[in-house]
């Protein structure tokens, strides 16, 4: 009995780390802007599709358009960043605003160059690092577009309106990603090991099964989570992010540009989506369905608290383990007891677990204490 239990627990925890990764994207945005970003799942799909299609063998024309756009985006964003930096330096030394046009020109040139590069690359596959870099740039662009076109116009709206707007974005991205890249199933090859490992074969009959693919994915996810935590705690921009999360108005009054922060946050959560997409995509294959894993992250969120990075991590582990254990051990009992047509309780069990937990701690595991005043 102990063997299967441990095995399920390990499997659940490893899955939980991946849930944490998706939940983290939600937390970042909610913390900094109070937006419950339902488009996170769509962003995961979009990022994964972009990587898979750029790095995979590309051989039909509709994808070529996407490749062109991607390449243009990479170089455009890269050059724009360089240009922006140069311009800032220039301004600091007392230069004129005229330079702004040069920056625009530079990024335009970059875009053209990127397109030309894509054209030159022809129909071959991109190396993985380049595909990831390109996708990162595209996620940055996406963040910029969302901030510029949507969020900026919805400042000071109620949370639910913003939530609905992100649902709209999710629909758009689902359609856009599939238009650009197609809706077939695509592979991301990270070279994850596939054959199962069996631990302690002497102790337990049949050994403890560990899926090495899951293990590697969990390690990648854990590293990312640590990097993000460091980014938040140690860097200047991380401090600014935390300041904005604490109090928008106060942060603004000490000179933190709010729009800039939002852009950064959305970019970072775009990068988290990229990481999640990369790992999930390598595990499952890239297809529309992976946008639905966002739903898996929601109980993690309420359990861990919408505003807590450690909450997302611990919540993910609890939900992952709880879900698998309930399915493997509780479901057969229920089925036998009530003559059900099969188990499948893990879907609601995670939510119920979170719900029951919330009844005792309404702000989640590590959420900020809710203080109500009249």
């Amino acid at each position: 009995m102990l063997g299967p239990f441990l095995e399920t627990l390990i499997g659940g925890l490893l899955t939980g780390v991946l849930y944490s990764l998706v939940a983290l994207g939600f937390v970042l945005i909610f913390k900094a802007s109070g937006v419950f970003n339902f488009a996170q799942g769509a962003m995961v799909l979009f990022a994964a599709l972009t990587i898979a299609r750029l790095a995979g063998a590309i051989d039909n024309k509709e994808v070529f358009l996407g490749q062109f756009v991607a390449a243009a985006a990479v170089l455009g964003v890269a050059l724009a960043l360089v240009g922006w930096y140069v311009w800032r330096e220039y301004m600091a030394r007392g230069g004129g605003g005229d330079e702004r046009r040069k920056v625009l020109l530079l990024s335009l040139l970059g875009a053209v160059a990127g397109g030309a590069a894509a054209y030159a690359y022809g129909k071959g596959a991109w190396p993985m690092w380049l595909a990831i870099a390109a996708t990162a740039a595209i996620m940055g662009l996406l963040a910029y577009a969302i901030e510029r076109l949507v969020l900026r116009h919805l400042v000071n709206q109620e949370g639910i309106i913003l939530f609905m707007a992100t649902l709209g974005i999710a629909y758009f991205l689902d359609g856009f990603g599939q238009t650009l890249w197609g809706s077939d199933i695509y592979k991301i090859n990270l070279g994850l090991p596939k054959d199962p490992i069996f631990l302690f074969e002497g102790v337990f009959p049949g050994g403890l099964l560990v899926d090495p693919g899951d293990l590697v994915a969990a390690v990648i996810a854990a590293v990312l989570v640590i990097v993000l935590a460091l980014f938040f705690q140690k860097t200047r921009i991380g401090r600014a992010l935390r300041a904005v999360a604490d109090d928008h108005a106060a942060a603004q009054s000490v000179g933190i540009p709010l729009n800039m922060i939002w852009l950064v946050v959305w970019t970072v959560s775009g990068l988290v989506a990229l990481a999640a997409g990369l790992i999930w995509g390598a595990k499952l294959g890239v297809q529309f369905s992976i946008s639905l894993i966002a739903l898996k992250a929601l109980p993690v969120l309420i359990l861990g608290g919408f505003t807590s990075v450690p909450g997302a991590i611990v919540g993910g582990l609890i939900i992952g383990a709880g879900e698998k254990l309930s399915e493997v051990f509780l479901a057969p009992i229920l089925v036998k007891q009530f003559d059900l047509a099969g188990g499948g309780i893990e879907n609601w069990f995670a939510y119920m677990l979170a719900l029951v937990f919330l009844l005792f701690r309404p702000q989640g595991l590590f959420g900020e204490r809710i203080i109500e005043r009249v």
Binding site: G11, L209, D211, L284, F288, S289, I293, G342, G344
Partner: protein, 441 residues
């Protein structure tokens, strides 16, 4: 309210526009609707099928100038595998063309269930080739349903026969454990009744295990399988669920050659994403498998060489593409059969229904059509809307599908009583009249 009224008015105008548009079309065309999906969670499997269907209709128009001179007018509508969207597509398309829809292929068991209720009212036959309600093969009750080439009960029976053969007879199955991993929808639940029956007959232990849509999260299911150590796992999945199942099977070390998929779990998009992990995996065949046959030469000559094909030529031999071809061919041949009785003109759904019911494809005819090697001869009748119950089993060798069995016939001694009972129950619940097939001409 004004907006609402404007919206309603707009809708009314739109509906009127639809009628006008259909009235303006040429009169010598047979309209066939295509309820397919090229988008959403099930697109990887929906796309090749839809391509095959579209290409075959285009081929008939290009090569033969239509069915005896009646051009096929084909229109797709994307259902996304959702039942309500599918019904909307059906309602939108059923009245198009000079005579309305000839027949409809729902391409989803859920939509088939919904359209089964509508077909007798609208007088449009439902061809659910290899899917749909298993009891609907009984034409005396389900006058408008045609689960051609095989139902899920046939599929499950063929798989069990294959397993029994490998074990050395049905009596050897006693005490074995068989698990069914199924898509949690009417589709996945269909085979359960037959497998329970077989389990009772031969004394093996049968456990169904549902997987929730879209099926990307199966870790718990496969951990249970690992712990229970079943002898065989049957897979009734669709879309990304199939490849995920195979991957998870590899991840828990369940032998893939003990895994048997239904014919909707046995195509290239199901095994390719699992790469090496899929090697050895078995699947039932809806008669045909992968590969290029006589009809593909015509496709190349009349469509692909002229740049008119919707897929890529080297994809035209894939399992689901071929299934699309077969599906379209059966429809076209049914219309041809009906034309013999009603004349070479666009036919109504009711006339086409007669054509499907009297469809008789001999081996010679199949060869003529370029389907030799893909299909066995089939003959539909009033009593038997399935046409044939033959099937084979194929295995993925890591690069391609290989046929590993001879032909099986699902055992009518088991199936027939179940079909009769279920059809009778349906007719009683619905208070439907039962046709006497012995009196049909």
């Amino acid at each position: 309210m004004r907006l609402m009224k404007a919206a309603l008015l707009g809708a009314a105008v739109a509906a009127a526009g639809l009628t006008v548009a259909s009235g303006a079309q040429a009169q010598n065309e047979q309209f066939i609707p295509g309820l397919i999906y090229r988008t959403g969670a099930y697109a990887p499997n929906g796309i090749p099928f839809a391509n095959g269907v579209a290409d075959y209709y285009a081929l008939v128009n290009e090569r033969d100038g239509g069915i005896n001179g009646v051009k096929i007018l084909y229109e797709e509508c994307d259902t996304g595998y959702a039942t309500d969207r599918g019904v909307e597509c059906y309602e939108r398309l059923k009245g198009k063309g000079p005579t309305g829809a000839a027949y409809v292929n729902p391409l989803s068991t859920g939509i088939t269930f919904a359209l089964t209720e509508k077909a007798p009212v609208d007088k449009i036959p439902v061809i659910s080739m290899g899917y749909g309600r298993s009891e609907s093969r009984d034409g005396s009750v389900f006058q408008w349903n045609f689960p051609l080439l095989g139902t899920y009960w046939s599929a499950a029976d063929i798989i069990m026969q294959h397993i029994a053969l490998k074990e050395g007879g049905f009596e050897k199955l006693k005490g074995k454990k068989v698990v069914l991993v199924y898509h949690d929808s009417p589709y996945g639940k269909e085979p359960i009744a037959l497998l329970e029956q077989r389990a009772k007959m031969h004394g093996f232990e049968f456990t169904p295990m549902p997987v929730t849509h879209p099926g990307v999260e199966q870790k718990a299911t496969w951990l249970q399988i690992r712990q229970n150590r079943p002898d065989y796992v049957l897979l009734w999945g669709w879309g990304i669920m199939n490849s995920t199942s195979i991957k998870e099977a590899a991840a828990v070390g369940f032998p893939r050659d003990k895994m048997f998929g239904v014919w909707w779990s046995g195509a290239e998009p199901d095994v390719r994403p699992a790469e090496g992990g899929a090697k050895g995996y078995h699947a039932a065949m809806l008669q045909h498998g992968a590969g290029q046959f006589g009809v593909h030469a015509d496709l190349k000559k009349f469509l692909y060489d002229k740049g008119k094909g919707v897929a890529k030529y080297d994809e035209t031999g894939e399992v689901l593409y071929n299934r699309g071809l077969v599906n379209a061919m059966l429809g076209v041949e049914s219309i041809r059969t009906a034309q013999k009785k009603f004349g070479n003109k666009p036919l109504t759904g009711e006339q086409v229904r007669w054509g499907i019911e009297n469809l008789d494809l001999s081996a010679a005819r199949l060869k003529e059509l370029g389907f030799e090697g893909m299909l066995q001869p089939l003959k539909v009748s009033c009593q038997d809307h399935e046409g044939t119950r033959a099937g084979r089993v194929q295995q993925w060798d890591g690069a391609k599908w290989v046929v590993v069995s001879d032909w099986y016939q699902s055992d009518d001694k088991v199936l027939k009583p179940m079909v009769d009972a279920a059809a009778k129950k349906y007719a009683e619940e619905k208070k439907l009249p039962v046709r006497d097939c012995s009196k049909e001409s």
